[in-house]
């Protein structure tokens, strides 16, 4: 996702709407949706109101039942 931080130019939207999907929310659900969409051949706009993605899951210390680190 490194290249994706580029600022969006406020120019005219590209022609074919059906080639892209917008995901609102950058938590675990939004991220998984975005990854699947991109890997299925769609341009994805991942909109997040905070300054970075991660959502609530990033706040969890560990996850049950494997006690894996959530990050």
């Amino acid at each position: 996702m490194n290249a994706a931080t580029k600022a969006t130019r406020p120019d005219a939207p590209p022609a074919d709407a059906s080639g892209a999907v917008m995901v609102v929310g950058g938590g675990i659900a939004g991220m998984q949706s975005a990854i699947d969409l991109a890997n299925s051949g769609f341009k994805v706009y991942l909109v997040e109101h905070k300054s970075g993605i991660g959502g609530v899951m990033a706040q969890l210390a560990k996850t049950y039942p494997t006690n894996d680190c959530a990050l």
Binding site: A17, G19, A20, V21, N39, L46, A61, K62, Y64, P65
Partner: protein, 933 residues
């Protein structure tokens, strides 16, 4: 690279319709140029403005210029304008003064722009319940009463106390900790929520277990005050048992009072135990297990996107189409649909992705870009020309390690022709510079001494590729995470270690060879095994994505378990849905139905499977979905099952309701017994669906015949999520719920054709006997015998017979083997709507495979030196992926498409024939020699 991340962005308005939306967005100013920011943190260290840190649940402070957390994406700082002294008062500007990259831009402005998209997926998440307004929870009064999210941050190694929990009142380590469940959930008080939040039982168990694991010495105690323990998912029940084994006290009581301890430290908890005795206990800290609510922006989102919400402000959905909102083209996933745990959120996220693109197949690939990689220069046969880049990581490395000394030392190493020190080796401009250096000095190996390859190897490999060098000609020395950060008080030792690490990396680099990545074609079709709801939904979804599907069903009819299911979620009738689904499946030109046959053999690998059916048909396909379902246990030998026609399982009763053989009007006394064959020593898991199913049946009887007496004997009612409302409705309708424990199971008798049930009432503490003209047994859902199939496709089964997913949280639909996915009860018992979700998720996962025309395999695979091979079979026996097989002469041969690069074969062979590319024996030996040399 086809994901454009838009942080600090909100949706202003939406125009258009499904297939062609124009979304107007506003991006708030960041005041830091993300292109320039190298995330060194200097700005934040010098920022004088401290703000409550939301990420740590307000337990500590962050600065006005900050990053959310250390691993966030993008890893770029941002200025919070509201608290920035310069932006508010025009003074300060410290961050701009100290920024080494000149990234601060106070003149940054909001940007308005629009994008056109075919559909929208809403995933705004959840927020936790705020208990501060409730005097009864004492959250605002007593400092040592905290929320579970706060406790989560206290437990976290990256939290405000580095994982060593300290209580708020006096900063000491709490030894006696109590958890209170259902805070803001399952409540009828005016501001509590009446649904069950689904996750709190498990996270409280997790927190108590993690706490118990860390507790050393005397006096530690973890107690959980609960109503019902809801451990209703895969491995959860075992986890619950584990917590009890570790000594976590599980107390079935609702405390009536929380009083401050001495000097307002600690909490005195008053409660009444199960025997009715009033008790009071002192705890050092109380954790409120707060429930989940719809996100704060739910209403505004609903307005902007014109979708309907339910009365708790969650997105309104239909159980048969769980990710579709009320507006076409707008989909939902995660907590905004209903409070749920991570695996269900992940499943739903994939499901929403497939639903969102089902109508957009013509747009696939029209707006995506492929990264262009220049052809790699052939360096084979050249002597090594190694470039070493030593990173200072701002001061993260250079404040401890003498990076100049390390760089100077690197120059003396054999094969090294270029060495430099970078402030940030990973920054965008350094990447460009490294690529230039590679070309200029004709480097054919690159070593970066910086942080960890686990996060940064992919980035540097891209740089190598961009410079025309094979990306495997790269080695890293981890002198930050394994160096400066852990040897801060031993700079000499750290520098000595860094020298060794660089020497080892250079030695390794000399042994690296350019590796080829094999590309394979993909057969654009899928095999779906199982014709129940999950299988049919998956088949239909994949066909809607434009791929051919082979649907194999053992029976001649479609529908599976759902044929015996009257309703789901209390009021949604199954039969009409099932009929329309079957019609759609049978009517879709892309689906070939193979009914009445089974899979005889599967060969191949992702993208290229070949399957033979018992009918003799041979199928070629690129992906597999296993939706083989579950079966209701016939509870032979339990509760007199089989001795009376009116002792029936819950599926049989449902079938009876539908065919009229069980008439609610004719019933006078009905008893249901829960957990029949579930949560028992031999079958320790919870079957997840039976509590809700029984409540649905009980309600159906009460609604039709209010005079009937209905008794439900249960252990814990696990009507999770919004199913809690059905439980509540049943209680209000007069259904009697009585709890039993394993020591006092109900006793069923059949005397002269009459069924009697004797049980110990937990309120009266005495035995009661009732006659029943119908006894419902909520028997377990068990896995069918799929060993044969599992062996054919090399799928792992759990002890209980469920398919094992690649990761229980993050890859709940994928098998470990690429190209294989699961849906429905074969994964774990689940209600119909969750099977639909998982099936739709499988569609998305399959689509990520089939939408590619070819796939590239990693170059780090095993290889066999046939000159050394004696064909002894050790390697192909030990290979976990069946990637090695004998060739025509009996020597080992690696199928690179199946090899995952674990190296087991290389370590197992006694003649040294196999080696693992990327981790060759000579490479590892060279590192060891270099270290000790």
């Amino acid at each position: 690279m086809n994901i454009e991340l838009l942080p600090l962005t909100g949706v202003r308005s939406v125009e258009g319709e499904a297939g062609d939306f124009t979304v107007h967005l506003t991006q708030a100013p960041r005041y830091i140029d993300p292109e320039k920011c190298i995330a060194c943190g200097e700005c934040s260290r010098k920022c004088p403005s401290k703000v409550s840190n939301d990420f740590n649940a307000g337990l500590d402070k962050r600065k006005a210029v900050h990053i959310l957390y250390d691993q966030t994406v993008p890893l770029k700082y941002a200025i919070d304008a509201e608290h920035c002294i310069y932006l508010q008062k025009g003074k300060c500007g410290n961050c701009a003064k100290v920024c080494p990259a000149d990234a601060v831009n106070f003149a940054d402005t909001p940007r308005e722009f629009s994008v056109r998209v075919g559909s929208v997926v809403l995933a705004p998440g959840i927020r936790t319940f705020d208990p501060s307004a409730f005097d009864s929870y004492a959250y605002s009064r007593i400092p040592d009463v905290i929320t579970s999210l706060e406790y989560e941050r206290l437990l976290s190694a990256s939290g405000p106390c580095q994982g060593h929990v300290l209580r708020p009142s006096d900063g000491t380590e709490p030894k006696r900790i109590a958890w209170l469940q259902c805070v803001g959930s399952r409540g009828n008080n005016k501001c509590d929520n009446d649904y069950c939040s689904n996750v709190c039982c498990m996270y409280a168990l997790k927190q108590s277990l993690v706490t118990a694991d860390h507790a050393h010495g005397e006096g530690h105690d973890q107690a959980i005050f609960f109503m019902d323990v809801r451990a209703h998912n895969k491995s959860f029940e075992q986890y619950y048992n584990q917590a009890m084994d570790k000594g976590v006290r599980i107390l079935r009581a609702r405390p009536h009072s929380f009083l401050p301890g001495e000097e307002n430290r600690g909490v005195r908890v008053g409660y009444v135990n199960e025997a009715g005795e009033p008790l009071s206990e002192d705890f050092d800290m109380v954790v409120l297990s707060v429930g989940l609510e719809a996100p704060a922006e739910a209403k505004q989102l609903a307005e902007t996107f014109d979708i309907k919400l339910d009365h708790w402000n969650f997105a309104l959905t239909d159980p048969f189409d769980p990710v579709a909102t009320s507006r076409k083209g707008v989909y939902v996933c995660g907590g905004f649909q209903e409070p749920k745990d991570i695996p269900r959120s992940v499943m739903e996220a994939s499901a929403a992705a497939s639903a969102a693109t089902a109508g957009l197949t013509k747009g696939r690939g029209t707006r995506t870009a492929e990264r262009e990689v220049p052809a790699a220069v052939d360096v084979l046969g050249e002597p090594p020309r190694i470039g070493v880049f030593v990173c200072s990581c701002g001061i993260n490395i250079s404040s401890v390690i003498d990076v100049q000394d390390v760089a100077d030392y690197a120059r003396t190493l054999p094969g090294v022709v270029h060495v430099e020190n970078n402030m940030f080796s990973c920054s965008q401009d350094t990447q460009v510079a490294i690529a230039e250096v590679i070309r200029k000095h004709r480097l054919n190996r690159v070593v970066v001494a910086a942080c960890t390859p686990r996060t940064h190897e992919p980035l540097f490999r891209e740089t190598l590729e961009a410079a025309g060098l094979n990306k495997y000609l790269f080695a890293m020395a981890n002198i930050r995470n394994h160096g400066s950060w852990v040897h801060a008080t031993d700079p000499k030792g750290a520098t000595r270690k860094a020298r060794d690490q660089v020497r080892m990396a250079v030695a390794s680099a000399r042994h690296l060879a350019p590796l080829k990545e094999v590309t394979l074609g993909v057969t654009p079709s899928a095999l779906v095994v199982g014709g129940g709801v999950a299988g049919m939904t998956a088949a239909l979804g994949i066909a809607e994505q434009g791929f051919a599907v082979h649907l194999v069903e053992r029976e001649t009819e479609l529908g599976g378990n759902a044929r015996m299911l009257r309703v789901t979620q209390g009021r949604f009738e199954t039969a009409p849905y099932l009929a329309s689904l079957e019609k759609a499946v049978r009517g879709h030109a892309g689906i070939t139905l193979h009914a009445g046959t089974t899979v005889a053999d599967v060969e191949g690998f992702v993208g290229n499977f070949v399957t033979r059916l018992d009918s003799g048909t041979e199928l070629r396909h690129g992906a597999i979905v296993l939706a083989t379902g579950g079966v209701g246990l016939k509870p032979e030998g339990m509760y007199r099952y089989g001795e009376h026609p009116r002792i029936m399982t819950h599926q049989q009763i449902d079938a009876g309701f539908m065919d009229g053989s069980v008439d609610p009007k004719a019933l006078q006394s009905v008893v249901f017994i829960q957990c029949v064959g579930s949560r028992e020593p031999g079958r320790p898991y919870c079957s997840r669906v039976c509590c809700t199913h029984t409540v649905e049946s009980a309600l159906h009887i009460k609604r039709t015949n209010p005079d009937a007496r209905v008794v439900v004997l249960y252990r814990d009612m696990r009507t999770y999520g919004q199913r809690e409302l059905l439980y509540k409705e049943a209680r209000e309708a007069g259904v009697i719920f009585s709890r039993f424990s394993l020591d006092h199971r109900p006793v069923v008798d059949v005397v002269n054709g009459t069924i009697t049930v004797t049980f110990r009432d937990h309120v009266l503490q005495q035995d009661l006997t009732v006659e029943a003209d119908l006894l419902g047994l909520a028997s377990a859902i068990v896995a069918p015998d799929v060993n044969g199939l599992a062996q054919m496709v090399k799928a792992t089964l759990s002890d209980e017979g469920w398919y094992v997913e690649a990761h229980s949280k993050l890859r709940p639909v994928d098998f470990v083997t690429d190209g294989m996915f699961m849906a429905g009860l074969g994964h774990y018992p689940k209600p119909l709507e969750e099977s639909v979700t998982q099936a739709r998720a499988a569609v998305s996962r399959v689509t990520t495979v089939l939408s590619r025309t070819e796939m590239t395999l990693a170059g780090t695979v095993a290889t066999i030196n046939k000159a050394k091979c004696v064909g002894c079979a050790v390697c192909w026996n030990v290979c976990p992926y069946n990637a090695i097989s004998p060739d025509e002469k009996g020597f080992a041969e690696v199928n690179e498409a199946l090899c995952k690069g674990c190296g087991l074969c290389a370590a197992a062979c006694r003649s040294g024939a196999p080696d693992l590319r990327g981790f060759t024996t000579s490479d590892i030996m060279a590192q060891v020699s270099a270290m000790l040399g």
